[in-house]
Symmetry: C2
């Protein structure tokens, strides 16, 4: 898979580190959108939205095709896959962590259940480790 270099990963993660931009990506996952359409859900100026879009474009996360006066954007998922892949390196690690959590949860739940008689559906969050 694409295997981005560190500076590229910097740019991709930075682009993802903003809720506005992430929502734009979510919208784009539903199909092509114009700049105006992408901007519409937010209470920011079109210029600000335009900047966000340029950040996404700079990260290679989207592509733009100018059709007349409107610019259509589409998701370009390669870099997302790279970021996902990078995070995947930690999967083994956090899976084992989650196993531990799972066990603690069960133990805690059993104890709680024994003492209070509450059904275990009451305890969803588990102990704060």
């Amino acid at each position: 898979m694409v295997e981005l270099l560190p500076p590229q990963l910097d740019i991709v993660f930075h682009a993802l580190g903003d809720a506005t931009r992430r929502q734009m990506l979510r919208d784009l996952a539903g199909g092509e959108r114009s700049v105006g359409q992408l901007a519409e859900p937010f209470s920011i100026s079109l210029a600000a939205a335009s900047k966000h879009i340029k950040v996404l474009e700079g990260a290679g996360l989207i592509r733009r095709e100018v059709k007349g006066r409107t610019h259509m954007c589409r998701l370009e998922a390669g870099p997302l896959a790279s970021a996902h892949e990078w995070l995947g390196h930690y999967e083994r690690f956090w899976l084992s962590r989650l196993d531990i959590l799972e066990n603690l949860l069960r133990a805690d739940d059993a104890r709680t259940h024994a003492v209070t008689g509450k059904p275990r559906t009451d305890r969803k969050k588990g102990p704060r480790l």
Copy 2:
């Protein structure tokens, strides 16, 4: 799974958007490290490293246990898993994209091969779509 709220995801992705911090996480994947150990590979002041570590801590990506005068850090993989999960929502999308790329690559490769006689190992990057 943990399912971080947008502001939390902001913080996590921002923390990941720096090569220094990502390398620290990589080191921590190998086991506990002190602040000094984490700082050592970089040509930055200890104070700067300390700031990076605080960012990682603020994102919940690591935890710190003060043992005497040294602060030991360990990976706290939950938020990494959340970021991974968030990116996973796009998996379906980019997999289909990569299928398209794959096909284009093959077509392009066949054409190139036919015209130039070059073996396909020469064309690794594929066409710029």
